[in-house]
Amino acid sequence: MPSLPRPGLPFLLRSLAVAALTLLTACAGEAPDAAPSKLVITGSSTIAPVISDIARRFESEHPGTRVDVQTGGSSRGLADVRQGLADLGMVSRAPKDGEDDLQWHALARDGLALIVHADNPASALREEQVRAIFTGAIDTWAQLGDELSTFDEPITVVSKAEGRSTLEVFLDHFELTAPEIAADVIIGDNQQGIKTVVGNPYAIAYVSIGTAEFEASQGTPIQLLDLGTITASTDAVRRGDYPIARTLHLVTADEPEGLALTLLDYARSAAVADLIEGQFFVPLAP
């Protein structure tokens, strides 16, 4: 049997040496930080991605600190802070009655816009019309009023998959439950919603308002529908004028101090506005 070419021993040795050195340097790197300051943040899976982004930047600007972000829902965030298991909790809603034992710090706003194709003659919908469309009570555009009477086309209702925060905001605002939605298309992320609307002039979808506004400004053929007389824009969300939105909060047990305060101030500063917008939320720092 002809002998197969073999990797030489030196190659193996070299790889082992490299691996060993990597391990050594990794250990050496941690050794000097005898007392690394560490923060634990738990809670809403809506907020976790943006806090993780912020934490990563925070860690690189404050060497020696570690921020541990875990999900488990807003209720876990509240419970962990109360029990002292977490320094900060992430809660994706406004405080309810009996929750003012904690300190609530607004982080960002999460709003959604109803979007249609740019060629769709609709420009505004009233609350009850949106509800009728998404429950299937109205299924053609012409049923929505005189100005749409010539647009006699079936409505394609685009909704989000269960578990998505946008769906929660939508259901909360319109006081609906997931089984009541009569969807023709169910999408995952915002981009899929925008592509669906771009490909279908009869479709209506709701997506994060930051994404919708950005895409519309980039010339994507979509338009944001006004809600009644209220214009849908991130500015209106920031001011609190636009109602289909909620405030994302960080909570602490007491008046925050030390590293927790530093991180909290950092997370609410303009320095991380790009990260918040990157996750399609509306930063509060203008």
Partner: protein, 296 residues
């Protein structure tokens, strides 16, 4: 005292290394399959323990629904998976078989080579590209025919396109492996081209063709991104091919990122069901090929 022969020693060492490496690889491959199965089972256990098996046979899926703990019926998605995968295989198989027949038997060598290369190229296109094409070209076309557009039909067409090269390449390889003597004998008997193909070449290549079909079915059932983009993902048993459907894979991809607790475990049950489905198909195909080889 024997003469020292470094080459022989080295060859023996090589042999031993090769055998060890092969055994380790084989054990690892088998082990990985078992580990995946175990992992799926462990992750789905919370849902199976809390709910039992019966709710998963239900017809409606609202995993985050309210106080009653939600509904976890996977049946519409199982139907959606089988309809999309089955439709795609039914559509792509004859096309792939004909393409392979042309490549192997009918076309002049140069054209056959070119055709083969193009099909190989088709096999290399990532699925998300097919999905994107489906979303921006195919879905609007179907919408013009019958709204809303994202539908079982779009899924079947995109999947058929995706598995076509897999099926064609496998059929090509299977047909090329048909012993030349059989074909020579057939032509010596004065059989027509059609009779040679249908009566001699295809039966002789049957085992390879089945393997290719199995690969295609596996790819069609497992495909996620393209299907997620064009199928509409509404959880329902489709009445016509223009109705949107959700497949088991799309269900996992859509909801996994934000699923917690029971919802998350229920998504692993989706994965478990899919794995079982593919296993059953593989076993069935093996039984069929074994039977066909026993009685050629």
């Amino acid at each position: 005292m024997s003469r020292w022969r470094p080459d022989a020693d080295r060859a023996r060492l090589d042999d031993r290394l090769l055998v060890v490496a092969a055994r380790v690889s084989a054990a690892a491959s088998a082990g990985i399959v078992l580990l995946i199965g175990g992992f799926l089972l462990v992750e789905s256990l919370p849902a199976l323990r809390a709910l039992g098996v019966a709710p998963f046979a239900g017809m409606s899926w609202h995993p985050t629904g309210g106080t009653d703990g939600g509904q976890f019926g996977l049946m519409p998605m199982l139907v959606g998976t089988l309809a999309a995968g089955g439709g795609a295989v039914a559509l792509a198989t004859p096309l792939a078989l004909l393409a392979a027949v042309v490549c192997v038997f009918l076309a002049p060598p140069r054209i056959a080579l070119l055709l083969g290369r193009v099909i190989e190229l088709l096999a290399g296109i990532p699925s998300v590209v097919y999905g994107f094409w489906g979303l921006v070209v195919l879905v609007p076309l179907i919408r013009r025919l019958e709204p809303p557009g994202p539908s079982l039909l779009a899924g079947i067409l995109v999947l058929a396109l995706m598995i076509l090269p897999t099926l064609a390449l496998a059929a090509d390889a299977a047909l090329r492996a048909v012993p030349r003597e059989l074909l020579t004998a057939a032509s010596a008997l004065g059989l027509s081209r059609t009779t040679t193909l249908v009566g001699v070449a295809l039966p002789a290549a049957r085992s390879g063709l089945w393997t290719g079909l199995l690969l295609g079915v596996g790819r069609a059932l497992g495909e996620t991104m393209a299907v997620l983009m064009v199928c509409g993902n509404v959880v329902q048993v489709p009445g016509t091919v223009f109705d949107p459907v959700r497949t088991l894979t799309a269900n996992i991809a859509l909801e996994m990122a934000y699923a917690l607790d029971l919802h998350r475990a229920a998504l692993f049950v989706s994965g478990l069901v899919l794995a079982l489905l593919v296993t059953v198909l593989v076993l069935a195909a093996q039984a069929t090929t074994a039977g066909s080889e026993a009685h050629p």
